[in-house]
């Protein structure tokens, strides 16, 4: 994985850049000494590290605007950062750039129950939004596994999902508005408390744009009343096929569970060893099915799911009898990553989505690849929406292991695309999958996306090196030929 070659001239201007940032954000809001920069060198994709020129931690929208305006005028690249939990390297710094951290934007500004929304600053954690409203019986639905740490601003940038997004949607389906600062320093408001807004849906466009289009400084999220009750089932199967078929049967029966997760045998065993919540360690596949809503509905659907699973040969069935037990069922799944972290020195978490019917084929192929590369793999899977998270186990201290793990991961993602799926379901492209974009998109597709980038950031200064395998200058992409006052497309075929 290579980042764009840093500009030595910019690095040499460090003193000047730091001084300018200090004029905008006085005091401790600018970090420039080497020891202070260490925590910002990496995000959740810790295989990659880079020290930035400096880190700036503004507290107001006006400061963000001034920082971006100054950086644009001076050609300085900017990498926005929330909590730094990205699993795709979205917040990986640039050697010739500054990191713009939003951690001081940590206030819940308004909770508006009458309109079922909350206005929060981007540095509020995902769980912090729910914490602000749960006393009144509300919650914020998207729940990425890192929700205790990850921020709403980062969630907007990555369009984060979570185990409940099958029923309740990704971040994009739960946003009403945001305040966005463009690289020019201009501040725009997209959406608000109403459900629709004027003009093009730029809120939807910015969501999941991975910090390449603007810096979000305020977010209005939709909050939901908590369901009356929730029940979870653990279903163990002797075969992956049995579990996969059960998932299809549940959906075909018209049931959209609040959560529908699958784990394979290595993931089950790692999680059980870590949290000890009673997972069936001899099962080839485990389903965790959560049903929520009216109590009558939970009871009815629990029975229905239990029956469907039995018909597909489930040989382990456990239904949560209490809220504590339901949470315990999830504890193993939510701890799957750290659990796997205990059985291998390092791991890569992949994030492809596939049509669910392809699951048995894809898992078989992954285990073949695992043997071929000599690297272990554990699979956790948002089964309801086909979002697969193979965790590739490797040891960064063994020379060549990281390269092998990268190649293995790339093969898995190419496989996902080949069976009709996509490179990333919820973690984002970042730097991790950047060079694989060509598997899904041709040059024209990518040019159309890059022109959107140019509409927001014509200087390509905001988070460059992410998402796009090659970043063309905007002038090249926008070229329209003019000949004798008439535009023409000479490259197009004629009759």
């Amino acid at each position: 994985m290579k980042m764009p070659a840093p500009d030595p001239e910019l690095i040499a201007r460090k003193a000047e850049i730091v001084k300018a940032l200090r004029r905008i954000v006085p005091g401790e809001g600018v970090v420039s000494e080497p020891a202070g920069l260490v925590p910002f060198e990496s995000d959740g994709l810790s295989a990659y590290r880079q020290t930035p020129i400096a880190v700036v931690l503004p507290e107001t929208t006006a400061q963000v605007s001034d920082i971006l305006r100054w950086c644009q005028a001076n050609g300085v690249k900017v990498v926005p950062r929330g909590a730094g939990t990205s699993l795709s390297g979205g917040a990986l710094p640039l050697a010739d750039g500054v990191v713009l951290g939003l951690s001081k934007f940590n206030r819940v500004l308004e909770v508006d129950y009458a309109n079922r929304c909350a206005v929060v600053q981007p540095g509020v954690t995902n769980l912090g939004v729910t914490a602000a409203v749960e006393a009144n019986g509300f919650y914020y639905a998207p729940d990425p596994s890192s929700q205790i740490a990850c921020t709403i601003g980062g969630n907007v940038a990555e369009n984060s999902g979570g185990v409940h997004c099958l029923k309740y949607g990704l971040t994009t389906n739960n946003l009403l508005g945001c305040e966005l600062v463009l690289m020019s320093g201009e501040v725009v408001r997209l959406g608000g408390k109403a459900m629709e807004a004027d003009g093009y849906d730029l809120l939807g466009l910015v969501t999941g744009s991975e910090g390449l289009l603007g810096v979000v400084t305020e977010v209005t999220v939709r909050i939901l009343p908590k369901p009356e009750s929730a029940k979870a089932l653990l279903l163990g199967f002797a075969t992956v096929e049995g579990a996969a078929a059960t998932v299809g049967d549940i959906i075909a029966a018209g049931v959209i569970p609040a959560g529908l997760e699958m784990m394979d045998s290595p993931a089950i065993r790692a999680a059980e060893a870590f949290v000890g919540v009673g997972y069936p360690v001899d099962a080839a596949a485990l389903l965790i099915v959560e049903l929520d809503g009216a109590e009558a509905e939970c009871i009815e659907l629990t029975e229905q799911v239990r029956t469907l699973a039995a018909e597909r040969g489930a040989n382990f069935v456990k239904v949560s009898g209490s809220e504590a037990e339901r949470l315990a069922f999830w504890a193993g799944r939510k701890a799957a990553f750290p659990a796997v972290g205990r059985i291998a020195p390092d791991y890569f978490c992949m994030d492809g989505t596939i049509p669910r019917a392809q699951l048995p084929h894809v898992l078989t192929r992954i285990s073949q690849l695992s043997a071929q590369y000599g690297l272990g793999v554990a699979n956790v899977f948002h089964a309801g929406d086909g979002n697969l998270h193979p965790l590739i186990l490797y040891d960064a201290d063994i020379p060549g292991d990281l390269d092998k793990a990268e190649a293995f991961g790339a093969d898995i993602l190419k496989l996902c695309v080949a069976v009709g799926g996509v490179l990333t379901g919820e973690h984002g492209v970042g730097v991790e999958k950047r060079d694989l974009m060509g598997e899904m998109f041709d040059a024209t597709d990518l040019a159309c996306q890059q022109r959107v980038k140019c509409a927001f950031d014509p200087g390509l200064l905001l988070n460059p090196g992410k998402v796009f395998p090659t970043l063309h200058r905007c002038a090249e992409l926008g070229r329209v030929h003019v000949h004798r006052g008439k535009v023409a497309f000479p490259e197009l075929p004629r009759f």
């Binding site: 369901p227 049509p355 019917a357 927001f456």
Partner: protein
């Protein structure tokens, strides 16, 4: 405005669309893009040289009910899509409206048209808008480039979410040639609870109470007396309606619980099954306002403030989306309607009698213009369609 003298070109392949758009660009011609053409009367259009309809791009490419995904060409009629998914117990959860009678149009809305206009019905409060179910597409940009975005699976964040941009772009950025949407199980049962005689403010409170509890309301509308006369309601006074749907046992339990929660609001009646469906179809199509010659507005407002819009603008109003959508017939000047709506934090779309959209202004307006130029720098497609006026 619509130039009926122009012949409508109906390409049958994406390549034909590409050729037409590229040639138009090369010759500095302008194109009106339509699906079934049922929304042509909404808003304005600068003069065009050609009309392209996607009507003959009318193939269902793939429907995988178990994957909750459907891929089709944009010219497939909405009615045909809905019939197909209903045959497998599924639905388009955003409950797309036709508005054919409302705007006095003829013809059949298409899937592409519904997505391009991002139209959603009463279920939007629970299931989201058309844009929330739009998973991927292939299209020809105003530059004459055939490109794709998104995917054919329900969960995907690879690249920019250009589906959101296409939804509600009214054909001004690209001509869709294939779309993939998410479909969902249709509810087995629906019941609508009715409250009577509530003034707008009380109705707004009742709807908020229902929305803020664990009742999973999938439709919340309020009709003043003049709009409540029609069948199947035949009510003599204002009527507030709350729809609950899903599995039988669940609906029954939630109906009981909601009725208890609403007992301070007077007599409660219920519509079941087909009567309920018929009622919500009327709300979706705003039938109470069809055929009225007055200027027609659709105000999207913060739900709790919904009633304030029409109260500042004399005319006749009815409410959907728990108050977040106010339909308004008013003779008030467009500038005033937009100003009142904006002051309440909302957005106004005019379906008849004035420019559909408000003016693009300031840094946001310039950004919108740059986004348009990114896809259609020469302004080939639907020129002026989304450029608003005060």
């Amino acid at each position: 405005m619509i130039d009926t003298a122009l012949r409508i070109l109906k390409p049958t392949t994406a390549q034909e669309v590409q050729t037409l758009v590229a040639e138009a660009g090369a010759a500095a011609r302008h194109i009106e893009v339509i699906g079934g053409g049922t929304k042509r009367a909404i808003g304005t259009l600068d003069p065009v040289d050609q009309v392209i309809s996607t009507q003959r791009l009318d193939r269902i490419v793939d429907y995988a009910p178990d994957e909750l995904v459907l891929t089709a060409q944009p010219g497939v009629r909405l009615a045909d899509i809905e019939k197909l998914v209903a045959s497998r117990g599924q639905m388009l959860a955003f409950e797309p409206p036709r508005w054919t009678r409302l705007v006095g149009a003829r013809g059949e809305p298409t899937l592409g048209g519904v997505l391009a206009t991002n139209l959603s019905g009463p279920r939007r409060i629970r299931a989201g808008a058309a844009r929330d179910h739009f998973l991927g597409f292939e299209a020809v940009s105003g530059r004459g480039e055939l490109f794709k975005a998104g995917g054919k699976v329900v969960k995907n964040v690879t690249g920019y979410d250009l589906m959101k941009l296409m939804a509600g772009s009214w054909g001004t950025l690209a001509v869709l040639t294939e779309v993939t949407i998410k479909v969902l199980p249709a509810p087995r049962k629906e019941t609508t609870l009715l409250l009577f005689g509530l003034p707008d403010v009380r109705a707004s409170e009742a709807m908020a109470l229902a929305m803020n509890g664990p009742f999973e309301v999938s439709g919340a509308a309020h009709l003043p007396a003049f709009a409540a006369h029609a069948r199947p309601l035949k009510a003599e006074m204002s009527t507030t309606a709350l729809r609950l749907d899903g599995f039988e046992g669940s609906v029954a339990a939630r109906v009981d619980a909601l009725a208890v929660a609403l007992k301070g609001y007077g007599r409660i009646d219920a519509l079941e099954g087909d009567h309920s469906r018929q009622f919500w179809s009327q709300i979706r199509e705003v039938e109470a306002f069809a055929g009225d010659p007055r200027p027609l507005w659709r105000l999207s407002l913060p739900p709790a403030a919904g009633w304030r819009g029409p109260h500042g603008l004399p005319g006749d109003a009815l409410y959907d989306w728990a108050g977040g959508l106010a339909w308004l017939l008013t003779e008030e000047p467009a500038q005033k309607v937009r100003a009142v709506t904006r002051s309440l934090g909302g957005h106004a779309l005019c379906l008849r009698g004035a420019a559909a959209f408000g003016p693009r202004e300031g840094a946001l307006g310039e950004l919108q213009d740059r986004v348009k130029a990114a896809f259609d720098p020469l302004g080939v497609l639907n020129p002026g369609r989304m450029e608003g006026a005060p």
